[in-house]
Subunit: 418 residues, 2 copies
Amino acid sequence: MTGLKKAFIIATGTELLLGSTIDTNSDFIARRLMEAGVKVIGRIIVGDQKEEIFAAFALGAQLADIIISSGGLGPTKDDLTKETACEFMQVKPEVVEEEVTRIRDFFARRHKPMPENNIKQAMFPREAIILANNSGTAPGMYLYKDQKTIIVLPGPPREMKKMFLEEAEPLLKEKLNLTGKKAVSRVIKVFGPGESQVEEMIKDVMDDPQGCSFALLASDGEIHVRITAEGEDQQASQRLLDGLTEKIKADMGAYIYGYDEDALVSVVAGLLRDKGLTLAVAESCTGGYLSKTITDLPGSSAYFWGGAITYSNEAKNKLIGVNDQTIRDFGAVSEETAREMAAGIKKTAGSDIAIAITGIAGPEGGTDTKPVGLVYIALFSDEKQKVYKLHFNSHREGNRILAVKSALDIVRRYLCEK
Amino acid sequence: MTGLKKAFIIATGTELLLGSTIDTNSDFIARRLMEAGVKVIGRIIVGDQKEEIFAAFALGAQLADIIISSGGLGPTKDDLTKETACEFMQVKPEVVEEEVTRIRDFFARRHKPMPENNIKQAMFPREAIILANNSGTAPGMYLYKDQKTIIVLPGPPREMKKMFLEEAEPLLKEKLNLTGKKAVSRVIKVFGPGESQVEEMIKDVMDDPQGCSFALLASDGEIHVRITAEGEDQQASQRLLDGLTEKIKADMGAYIYGYDEDALVSVVAGLLRDKGLTLAVAESCTGGYLSKTITDLPGSSAYFWGGAITYSNEAKNKLIGVNDQTIRDFGAVSEETAREMAAGIKKTAGSDIAIAITGIAGPEGGTDTKPVGLVYIALFSDEKQKVYKLHFNSHREGNRILAVKSALDIVRRYLCEK
């Protein structure tokens, strides 16, 4: 049993539905709730229609303990969130005189009379706690009834955030006795095996999860294993998480390249930097993608010499001295050409390591013996010269990114073993 | 009465709840539906729990005619969307032998056996139409029952989009007899001036919009002007749109590089191809980004020779013969070095056009006289040799992408004038 309170987040506003305005409010609320130890189980965007807003609150009450909405507190007819929440909770809004005065003052300070339809912003049920809005006219609402907590916040992100942090969050913590987050999580990042292979490799851990939960996510040829541990308190969760991480490390070994925010290229960069080694590349089918990825990182000039984009056969010959005869005999996509490309750029650059990539990215250019997705990657250093033959089964963009990541992983594994 | 069909969009995945992974699928689906004349009335994100996925489908069926989900079609235990949709619709998934064969083939092409848990991706109810997935193992599902249309799509955006466009959308249009909408829109794409400059240049059109609406969007140094026209019918809208487009063309001239789905690089590719010219590059601060962008396009070998990633000074000298003395006298980031880089790669490649880029991408490496964001771009052809000095005012990634786009735009303008 987790015992965590569950929350459901509602954003209202027709402009959010098509993504032309992005719903940043729900991200913010979700993160704050997670930090406070509340489990967010769903979030919904609905337009300004009463039926849909009502249905959203009903779903929230069905699935969660806490329902938080943002948007729809303005003075106009299509601002219906508070009224609809009250109707759903079967409480009746009434004019609150102090709030009328406050809104009148707000307009008075701007030398304007209060439009009559702003009165509705001053209406609240007796059961509610009114959440002050110090940067706009619309107050929010906190309502606890029938074991459900309903929090209604304004839509403008600046008003919403301020009200959430100063008014709603302290109330939530006090009333629901939230003690902060007990759960901790970690993402283990894997390159090489596919999603179902990873699942089989860590079967022992998934079959005995010790109360932790797992999510596997495939992303551009990588598999990310997210473990969330939830113990008695944060310390216990951390111990649980560390224990499971060790087991997964034992299962997966060198397939794991990093954790959480690590990227494959930054892991390779760290290894090159630590060992004081330099890298040069020769790229055919990836056409600069590997170099671009390496130089995305600031400071890469410390270990990256540069390279040759040998997209044409002539470039292979003129830039790094690949023999025309080799290309004629074996083809541009061949072990032999990959080998000469790596040897050629290593000689020119005088780098510690050279990587060469030649392959058929697609969609055209494949044959029966050399299909789209066939890629040769050569790693040359003073003590090791090896060509890897790989088959990818993706579209052009996928094959190219897989070739880049495979090349980086080949360097990583070489540096880890070295 | 509108008579418009209503749609509800579901995204599943715990990683989407906190916004650490952004749900771009629902934006895409919402826009396509709108284009097809369907009204999107809500969208929800739920985690990988069955109860919540079930509740999401139930809410969708309560509010809408069409329910479209993405995510949760993987082979693992936490992939539950299809199963839950079937349970909600009271249909029973069974193993479909052709799909098993297809998935086995998918793994066979990768020289791997199919893990047994992939079988569940081949299970569908009799009532469903199976939506082919040509870029992954998980097929989608189209189900019409009890006057509700349920469409279940995979989570990876590329697979989802392809399946939506090629499989789901045509079925939707056919089965639900969608006739599309009256409004038409066009995006005019501009490189060079900033957002407020564009606004001033097209002031005459914006001051007399003839019932059209405008949106300006800045995106990686480009400005996209979206015009939406809504007349009596689609034909009238189109006439309105074409009229305004002509006026904007008169205002902006060569700053406009394309429309709608055009990308700067594909416009350049088209020009090179049409004129039968070849291009070679030498990249310093962009470190392969330009080459990568050019070779993102299939068929680029027809006009792209290759190039040199001269990230270090030594690479500038050894790969394309830049004089060490030039670098010592003027610096690696200088008009003189850019000139020698372009001349060097043009000579080696024998290409019609050569482009060289050298600059300071940041965050380190800037000085008072050569600040971060200073970039020289040289274009060399037989009849023109010119070096452009540019200043960008962005972060590393921004400066690099602006350098790449500026280089492409310099080639575009050269080819247009030629």
